[in-house]
């Protein structure tokens, strides 16, 4: 097991290297190349002298691989992600400010998703082809097909402007624990993000449980007289846990992507808005730093998912290199 984890970590580091390489080389394809931020900082009418000074100050005159090497060594030995051109802050400052906010949003939505969609999927699978199943599947289909911003806007209109009068925007202070001190303010964004991911996860859960319900061991369990509930939870659910854990690990980038839309609709300064702002203003260090961070989250999530998979499924633990 330890051997397996170590190998997975080594592979993840390789993947991170690829992510850094790709995001680092993308700005070279821009108009004005890596000097694009100079125009964003100094203005479009910057004199060539100013541009040259800026290039010298920011190390833009070095060849690609020298710059890449500098970036890597700074990152690995000094944990230095660079300096934001546009916001005049270190990238770590921006990350420390906004990541916790998005993380709380995404995490609470993830937990709520699990709490809602696992039982929902199980009930749907056990009462297959009933009115309840059809209506839940239909709702999931519609939610899945809806642009996320549209759902948010409709929710905003219904529950903020017409009924209930929930706050249309979460508290805008930078305290990451605001979600605990003012949960009502987060009701709409967290609710929308949850609803969007419940659509996918519950549908997947239903399919997985259905697949396990036709297995031989379920029939055996029924034959020896297990109650329906026992069959569902002891036999079907435990065997369906594997795919669910994998999907959860894979859904982390999706959560961050979804948070981007939620943040823009509900005007909540978080990671997503920062990324869009940085990308459209060619603030390369921020884009690099945030992409790297999300990639680390995703890889860690996948790794944890695989380890958890080994915990819930002894067969994988023995084989070790099932993937």
């Amino acid at each position: 097991m330890l051997n397996y984890i170590l190998r997975r970590i080594a592979q993840s580091l390789l993947v991170l290297l690829i992510v850094v390489f790709v995001t680092f080389s993308l700005p070279y394809f821009q108009t004005n190349g890596i000097m694009a931020p100079a125009y964003a900082v100094l203005g479009t009418h910057a004199t060539p002298a100013n541009l040259a000074i800026w290039a010298q100050q920011n190390g833009m005159n070095h060849p690609f691989f020298v710059r890449f090497w500098t970036y890597l060594t700074q990152l690995i030995f000094h944990f230095n992600l660079g300096h934001s051109y546009k916001q005049n802050m270190s990238v770590w400052g921006v990350i420390a400010l906004y990541v916790p906010r998005t993380l709380w949003l995404a995490l609470s939505a993830l937990i709520l998703t699990l709490i809602i969609s696992l039982p929902l999927g199980i009930i749907q699978a056990s009462r297959r082809n009933t009115v309840f199943d059809y209506s839940a599947t239909g709702t999931a289909f519609i939610l899945y097909a809806m642009p996320s911003f549209l759902l948010c806007m409709l929710a905003l209109d219904a529950f903020s402007f017409h009924t209930l009068h929930l706050p249309s925007s979460p508290p805008s202070g930078v305290a990451p624990w605001a979600i605990f001190t003012d949960p009502v303010g987060f009701a709409l964004p967290v609710g929308c993000l949850t609803l969007l991911s419940v659509a996918g996860v519950s549908r997947f859960m239903r399919g997985t449980i259905l697949e396990t319900l036709v297995q031989d061991y379920v029939r055996t369990a029924k034959a020896k007289g297990c109650s329906n509930l026992r069959v569902l939870f002891r036999h079907a659910f435990r065997n369906a846990l594997g795919p669910i854990i994998t999907i959860l690990g894979l859904s982390i980038p999706g959560l961050f992507g979804g948070a981007l839309i939620i943040e823009s609709v509900f005007n909540y300064g978080g990671l997503g808005i920062q990324t869009v702002f940085a990308a459209t203003n060619s603030d390369v260090p921020i884009v690099l730093g945030i992409t790297l961070l999300v990639a680390i989250f995703t890889l860690a999530g996948n790794l944890l998912a695989d380890i958890a998979l080994g915990l819930v499924n002894p067969r994988i633990r023995i084989e070790g290199n099932a993937r």
């Binding site: 790709v22 097909a145 809806m146 642009p147 981007l260 839309i261 459209t280 060619s282």
Partner: protein, 318 residues
């Protein structure tokens, strides 16, 4: 021969489908007739009434998006000409779905925007499946070191959120319609490649592939004659879902103001502009389009589900 079976077995297989308790499909029931594979699939697909309805609906919407702007042209691009037309006008005989906040005819604009949304959706969905299939097939079939390297590259791209990648690429390459197709296609193929690679890896180790190798078949031959035809079920299904995803991602871009540039438009941009107006009670700028949009994506997804059933060889064979 697994590809040629009698109608008797097909009937049994259809009976085993979840949706076929009560009605039997209209296939001639003779014991000795051999039914070609595509007709078996068509029979299973057309047995699913909702899927057939989805195909018809999608066809009608697509056809009207491409034809209506020609048959009944409305002004959708000339902003100077809309000064005389009241903005945000409720539905009337002159404008069946009212006018939007720039004075454009809403009904005509739905079709006009749909032309862009659907074209981009279908084309970039097509790109994702072509790149994904080629990449996945090569990676799954080569196995070993090549596979490991190709999969790690895939992992790297899969760990970046699609939207972040899309936005970064758009801010670099601009957003002309052609580039948007390419960018969306390029940003969404990673997942497809992984699914198809899994298939290729599986089929490569099956007995018939090994038998072909033993008989001296080349790699390209095995990919063409064995791996590709046997993973076609996943390819078709994944392609369908990719089109729906591409349409959704384009709408998200429209919301962020990175969609098709005005005065041209796409459904995402229109929905964004309209959803701002719900608070003013201008329902005609959102709900008709939202209904069409959701139904289009739902029907594409539903067609994908039905296709998966139709291509599920195991349902036919046993």
């Amino acid at each position: 021969m697994t590809e040629q079976i009698s109608s008797e077995i097909l009937h049994e297989a259809i009976d085993r489908l979840p949706t076929s308790r009560d009605v039997r499909p209209a296939i001639p029931k003779t014991d000795d007739e051999i039914i070609p594979l595509w007709r078996q699939r068509l029979a299973i697909f057309s047995h699913n009434k909702l899927a057939v309805a989805s195909v018809i609906f999608l066809f009608i919407v697509t056809a009207s998006c491409y034809l209506v702007p020609w048959l009944h042209p409305t002004n959708q691009t000339n902003q100077a000409a809309t000064f005389n037309i009241p903005w945000n006008q409720p539905p009337s005989w002159a404008h069946p779905l009212g006018t939007d906040s720039s004075g454009f005819d809403e009904l005509g604009r739905i079709f006009y925007g749909g032309e862009y949304s659907l074209t981009l959706g279908f084309l970039s969905g097509f790109i994702t499946i072509v790149i994904g299939t080629v990449y996945g097939m090569i990676s799954g079939f080569m196995a070993g070191f090549t596979d490991t390297v190709m999969m790690r590259i895939l992992d790297a791209f899969l760990s970046i959120p699609y939207l972040f990648l899309l936005i970064t690429l758009i801010s670099i390459f601009g957003r002309s319609t052609t580039f948007l197709i390419g960018i969306i296609g390029f940003s969404l193929w990673w997942g497809n490649a992984r699914i198809i690679r899994g298939d290729a890896l599986l089929i490569r180790n099956l007995e018939y592939s090994q038998a072909a190798t033993a008989m001296g078949a080349g790699k390209m031959h095995i990919i063409r004659r064995h791996v590709f035809p046997n993973s076609i079920s996943n390819i078709v299904t994944v392609a369908t879902f990719s089109v729906a995803d591409a349409i959704l991602f384009l709408s998200a871009l429209g919301f962020l103001g990175l969609g098709i540039q005005t005065p041209q438009t796409d459904w995402g941009t229109m929905l964004q502009a309209g959803s701002v107006q719900i608070q003013n009670g201008y329902w005609w700028e959102v709900f008709p389009l939202a209904t069409i949009f959701i139904l289009v994506v739902v029907s594409i997804n539903y067609i994908g589900d039905a296709l998966r059933d139709a291509f599920e060889v195991r349902l036919i064979e046993r």
